[in-house]
């Protein structure tokens, strides 16, 4: 650090800038919170502590948002997507990085196509295909396509990790006649744990926050993800500001709580996700 940055003025301006940025990040949430405590069907001010906070709004919203069902539904979808997607991505990443799979370069190129593909580009045919498979409206209609859509990112992520992995030990094990599975299980997998856990967090976020797929592929809001259910909740209670804000806060509370508890890992995963 240069000497100048430790002067008092610099330190104060640093804190001030950070405070301003933090304020900007939380202010919409604070505004929702104060509105959530206003009397229902009233027009609350943008940001002011209500004279008589209506904590009961949260109880009403709990019922109105069908919160427990929605939460369970999200958990089911996450359980359907994340372990399977992480396992498949890990296996494929290992295969492409370490096993010299025939046509590996072609496979890489094909996966690269899917990397920047917006989900909207596929939603139309997915709808008709899943309808023909008889899956439309079930949670499988979201779980299966989402696994497929997460593959390019996941495979490249794990492949990059396995490419960097220890090679001397692997070579030695190969000479000793260890099978691909043994090398993977005993040497490579333990070394890949950090990449694996980061990928798990990223896949969890992608699934939990998924909106488009549940919106289109599952009619019944109570079978969607939390994000999908939130959209439906807005449609129903859009005019009742207090209830809408209370419900939205309830719905984002679990993911916010998980984030705050695991914040160190989340921040690391998101930063690694960007620059590795």
């Amino acid at each position: 650090m240069s000497a100048a940055s430790s002067t008092l003025v610099d330190r104060i301006s640093r804190v001030a800038i950070l405070m301003a940025l933090m304020m900007f990040a939380v202010i919409p949430l604070l505004s929702m919170f104060t509105a959530a405590l206003a009397p229902q069907n009233s027009t609350p001010p943008g940001l002011a502590w209500p004279a008589d906070p209506q904590w009961h709004n949260f109880v009403d919203a709990w019922t109105a948002a069908n919160f427990l069902t929605l939460f369970q539904s999200s958990v089911l979808i996450v359980l359907g997507v994340v372990p399977a997607a992480v396992a498949m991505a890990t296996a494929a990443g290992y295969g492409l990085a370490q096993l010299a799979v025939p046509g590996g370069r072609l496979i890489n190129a094909i996966l690269l196509v899917g990397l920047t593909l917006p989900f909207e580009a596929l939603i139309t045919p997915l709808y008709y295909n899943l309808r023909d498979m008889g899956l439309l409206g079930s949670r499988w209609a979201v779980i299966l396509p989402l696994i497929g859509l997460l593959m390019p990112f996941g495979v490249f992520w794990m492949r990059a990790s396995f490419l960097k992995a220890e090679t001397a030990l692997t070579e030695a094990a190969k000479l000793d006649g260890a099978s691909a599975w043994q090398i993977f299980r005993r040497i490579q997998l333990p070394l890949a744990v950090p990449a694996l856990s980061a990928l798990t967090i990223l896949f969890f976020l992608a699934t939990w926050n998924q909106y488009l797929l549940p919106l289109v592929l599952i009619d019944d809001p109570s079978m969607r993800t939390v994000a999908g259910g939130l959209g439906a909740f807005q449609g129903e209670h859009g005019t009742n500001i207090a209830l809408l804000c209370a419900g939205s806060l309830l719905i984002i509370a679990p993911s916010l709580a998980v984030f705050l508890i695991l914040q160190r890992h989340f921040v690391k995963a998101l930063l690694q996700g960007a620059v590795k």
Partner: protein, 360 residues
């Protein structure tokens, strides 16, 4: 993930390892739709094997299988690798490649999703450029890049270079966490929160009234002129914290001696910014730009929640238009043409940004 990348000066550590080079030649990407899945590193080049400085896991060494004679033939080995890759490839083929092919095919037909499809030649494709509603949605997506990408990266750069680094400490940890909140919430929640902020009685208008700008108050998301910038500000809110923290972590990796050298050369704060900070952050800037640009071009969640493309078509973006055409207007062919066009557009715009990041 390498031992190098943990070292604060890794980037400038003299003997650059093969890995560091590799990082420079990677492709950053992000899956579309929500910004939640942020990016990946796709190494396309060959990796030069290097001696690792990681102390191998002693336990795993101890528990290595008893040596067996190596009898397996090389070729059989290679084919057995297919088993590892197959599940991922099958899922990808069935739920991504095949539908992508169908989208291309549908784009040359007129189909209502129920009856028989009739060939339409290039009509759907021409319409993207001639129908104001469709072409407008593409233009709007580009306007959103200004808010999702250009502003957050610029302001993030200025803020990061003023803050310089997030030192270890409770306040800095809290700052990092709070700045990340918009990135972790479902974009749908951001849409609802900001719909409330921009509403007639929301905080934006309340603030304007408080400073005597009553005449400027309006229902922002319903205003023909201001709806699109208002949607843009939601995206700005989503991107800003993430970009700032990412750029800060990049600044932390710049060799402090470069700043001292610039100071000795008589560079002021501004000179320092252009001579040291900006070049040193090339890669982080490219990453931020890539992720946020994809989020802008492929935006759906926020727009669908906040405006559904309205008022009129003022905030219509390709993502919402595809949804609307397919599920509300039964114009599957037209929706598919726009979908394929959007996918190609993302690639086209991302490509030059990637080149900036790669070049050093």
């Amino acid at each position: 993930m390498t031992p190098n990348s943990r070292h604060p000066n890794a980037r400038h550590a003299p003997p650059r390892t093969a890995d560091a080079q590799q990082t420079g030649a990677t492709t950053k990407i992000s899956t579309g739709g929500a910004m939640t899945l942020n990016a990946a590193t796709a190494s396309t080049g060959k990796v030069v094997k290097k001696p690792s400085f990681v102390e191998p896991d002693l336990d795993s060494r101890k528990s290595l299988p008893v040596p067996r004679p190596a009898r397996r033939r090389r070729r059989a080995d290679r084919w057995s690798g297919v088993v590892w890759v197959a599940p991922a490839l099958v899922m990808y083929a069935v739920f991504v490649l095949y539908p992508l092919g169908q989208s291309v095919q549908f784009s040359f037909y007129e189909w209502d999703g129920i009856g028989p499809a009739t060939p339409a030649g290039l009509d759907n494709w021409k319409a993207i450029f001639t129908e104001p509603e469709l072409f407008g949605s593409v233009i709007h997506a580009f306007v959103l890049i200004l808010f999702y990408t250009v502003l957050p990266v610029s302001i993030g750069l200025v803020a990061a270079s003023l803050i310089r680094e997030l030192r270890v400490g409770p306040f800095n940890t809290a700052a990092r966490v709070v700045l990340f909140i918009p990135q972790v919430l479902p974009p749908v929640a951001a849409g609802i929160a900001w719909t409330w902020m921009f509403s007639t009685d929301g905080l934006v208008n309340q603030s304007l009234r408080a400073v005597g700008l009553e005449s400027f108050t309006r229902a922002w998301l319903g205003d023909f002129t201001f709806a699109l910038p208002a949607v843009g500000i939601i995206g700005f809110w989503l991107s800003l914290g993430f970009c700032t923290v990412l750029l800060l972590s990049g600044i932390g990796k710049i060799d402090p001696s470069l700043y001292e050298a610039a100071r000795l050369d008589g560079a002021g704060r501004v000179g320092e910014f252009f001579a040291v900070t900006l070049p040193g952050l090339r890669q982080e800037i490219a990453v931020c730009a890539t992720i946020t640009t994809i989020a802008a071009l492929a935006s759906f969640d926020v727009v669908q929640i906040a405006t559904q493309g309205g008022p009129g078509y003022q905030t219509m973006v390709p993502g919402v238009e595809i949804y609307r055409l397919t599920f509300l207007e039964q114009q599957v062919g037209q929706a598919s043409a726009l979908a394929v066009f959007l996918a190609a557009l993302v690639l086209l715009v991302i490509w030059p940004i990637q080149r900036i990041g790669r070049h050093e």
